[in-house]
Amino acid sequence: MSAFSEYRDVIKEGELVLVWISRDNIKPIKVDSNETFNTRYGSFPHKLMIGKPYGSQIAIRTKGSNKFAFIHVLQPTPELWTLSLPHRTQIVYTPDSSYIMERLNCSPRTKAIEAGTGSGSFSHAFARTVGHLYSYEFHKPRYEEALAEFEEHGLIHHDKNVTITHRDVCANGFSIRSSDVTSHKFNEGEGSVTIGANAVFLDLPAPWDAIPHLDSVISKNEKVGLCCFSPCIEQVDRTIEALNKHGWDDLQMVEIQGRQYESRRQMVRTMDDAIERLRDVKRRKNEGLERRKRMCDNILNDQPQEEINDEKRPTTEKTKFNPFGKGSRIKEGDTAYKWKQVTKIEPEIKSHTSYLTFAFKVVNKTRDEDQVKSELDSL
């Protein structure tokens, strides 16, 4: 069983673990007692991890500055793996992938097709749940990378529920033959793979070219679900056209919007305090004001100028009542103040990922009349 399919208790040599440094910084490593995991906060020998339960915090004192530093060591899951990927690649994120899986009713009974593999992020989520995943990637270097990763992660040889094939499915369809570049190991005499998919996910720039090829690889005797993942609306339009033409039903296009909130605190600043502060300022200015008034009155009352010059420009003493802090930056949650809990949406949102076009198909809308008859007779 792989790191992705087995619940593991204690970290062992050679295992794939995810090191959580921060929300935006999660790194996969292979545990090796001779290695050290370096961060800018400090160095963590893998030895400290071995034998600890998954989820353990690993703490060190940094060399030199002797500061406390820590990481958490987690067992990989598809969702954590997705978070650990560099954001430059086109990734199917969890709000989309989880919706698609639910909408296609994924379970151990599912045989899924995915094209293309891309970053492999969705492949991991599929692989966790479905009976078998057939993933296709047309870009050779990406195929090789994904193949290596899936092997490394145990999806192909250990769990044996992922097959990845190098293929331009738009041009050449989905059938897998022994002459193909694929992870499938053919048995003697096995000419091609029986796929019979009941869930299909197409993340392709031109899904309409792939749709006609599906009929030969989908399950004939049950309802098959399909989802096309397209960033532009014009792609959706052409996809709908193709789906209508090739007998797919129940078309629906949806968008998924995922949002994440930060839990924050805002200082409670009462108006009474604000007014009290103004009152305090006024009190402290009063002397100055009184002097200024006297100055004016003196002039108006023809007092000699000399006397006036004696009085210096009034200096205003700043207030000492600072109910909201003294302008300096106060740490959020400082217990000297009162706080209100607030949510703040993440500063940059994923305002669009792609449009999801769903469609369904039952190829053989027939029944075996003899079987029905015999079943009725046996009642």
Partner: protein, 429 residues
């Protein structure tokens, strides 16, 4: 018949009606099912077809006229509908400038004519087509109002239904449509899907669960873990902790899992028994099982009493085990109890590195929870998540998001259980 792909006897399936509404039915042999104004059909006629097939109900002329009981919906025959016909090649006006009055007079067909057509065993689709033909100013309507008109008519005359597999999502949709929003805590399909993925639900995990949705959450878990397969031999289990004397998992009565399967895979334990389980010695002092042969040898009355006590004894042992010996593979929680108290205590029983996912209808209780977990070193990076779906009118040339929709769907808190380390002592370097 394979009940997971075909319409099989004694299964619950869900029917989609022309109105867009859903109805859950059980496919009893030799019985008929009435869909009210959409007609009635015999179960035997649809058995064996693939789940997802659409059937049209039609009536032979005699059958229609021979309705002695006016209130009883006559049972029609069914035929498989191949492709949903729709009216594509109708001219439409870009606007409705010239359509001053839309009244009954433009409908073209009188009610009598429509009735006549019905008697000629004409399908709903055909009646509608005739109505369009006869509609004096149909082409002066905008595409939008044409569509609306057609939909209205379709709902009135079409007699067809689609028999679908009763997935968790369809159960949810059914409940929302009949107004049970509060019962399912305003959950949405997209939030449920996200919960299942974030909690890393697999067929081999043991999950601690609080379900205030009447069993819907448990049904989603079962479906994801076992795909409706009563014969599954996967080793996953769901342990439901409940605040009342008995867990409310009423919705499972619609599921096609056998009682035996549910008893085996879904364990229930009250909050009290979970947090204050009986001690092993208490239980063992109250009862000692006999060796099997001795038990067999007991006399009838005695034997019954013995097995009743034995069941109690085994239940107690199981409760002790669930409460003290299991390290759970996830905590999934849909509860209206005060979360900053509930969640940390339940999560104490969750294995390190495993997810904690809490659903709440409102964001504010999760905010409170997030702040309290944030101060607790046993929880890694609690985040509040929201996911919303936005469906489109998926008609070429008229693509746009639907104009109005149900709101809601709630929020999720996602965190991972972690094991804090002692702060290492400062070393002298």
């Amino acid at each position: 018949m394979d009940p997971l792909t075909q319409l099989a006897f004694n299964q619950h399936v869900i029917l989609k009606l022309p109105s867009g509404n859903w109805k859950i039915v059980e496919l009893k042999p030799n019985a008929s099912i009435s869909l009210g104004k959409f007609g009635a059909f015999n179960v035997d006629d649809i058995i064996g077809y693939p789940l997802g097939t659409t059937f049209e109900i039609y009536y032979e002329e005699e059958a229609e006229t021979d309705n002695r009981d006016k209130n009883k919906i006559p049972v029609g025959k069914v035929r498989v509908m191949t492709e949903s016909e729709s009216v594509h090649n109708v001219t439409s006006s870009a606007n409705n400038m010239n359509l001053v009055n839309i009244g009954n007079q433009v409908q073209g067909l009188t009610m009598e004519q429509i009735e006549e057509l019905k008697k000629q065993s004409v399908s709903g689709e055909q009646i509608i087509a005739k109505m369009i033909e006869a509609h004096g100013s149909f082409d002066k309507k905008t595409v939008h109002s044409q569509q609306k008109y057609l939909n209205r008519k379709k709902q009135k005359f079409a007699k067809h239904f689609t028999a679908e597999y009763l997935s968790g999502s369809r159960m949810l949709q059914f409940l929302l449509e009949k107004g049970d929003t509060q019962r399912v805590l305003d959950l949405s399909q997209e939030t449920m899907g996200m919960l299942l993925n974030l909690a890393n639900i697999r067929s081999n995990g043991t999950y601690l669960c609080v379900d205030e949705t009447g069993g819907l959450l448990v049904y989603f878990l079962l479906e994801r873990m076992f795909g409706g397969d009563n014969g599954s031999t996967e080793k996953g289990r769901i342990v439901v902790v409940h605040e009342n004397e008995h867990a409310n998992l009423d919705l499972l009565k619609f599921s096609n899992y056998s009682d035996k399967f549910v008893r085996e895979y879904v364990k229930t334990v009250s909050l009290l028994d979970f947090f204050e389980p009986p001690s092993l010695s208490e239980v063992e002092s109250a009862f000692t099982p006999l060796p099997k042969e001795e038990a067999y040898a007991l006399k009838a009355g005695k034997k019954n009493a013995y097995y009743r006590r034995l069941k109690w004894y085994n239940n107690q042992l199981e409760a002790i085990s669930l409460a003290t010996q299991v390290q759970y593979d996830a905590l999934v929680c849909a509860s209206t109890l005060y979360l900053p108290q509930l969640v940390p205590r339940l999560a104490e029983h969750v294995h390190g590195s495993r997810p904690v996912v809490c659903y709440a209808q409102f964001k504010e209780p999760l905010l409170e929870l997030a702040h309290s977990l944030y101060d607790d070193l046993r929880f890694l990076a609690p985040s509040i998540l929201e996911t919303r779906y936005r469906p489109y009118q998926t008609v070429r040339g008229k693509l746009h998001p639907v104009m109005t929709m149900r709101s809601g769907g709630g929020y999720l808190l996602w965190s991972h259980r972690v094991l804090p380390a002692e702060e290492p002592e400062a070393t002298v370097s």
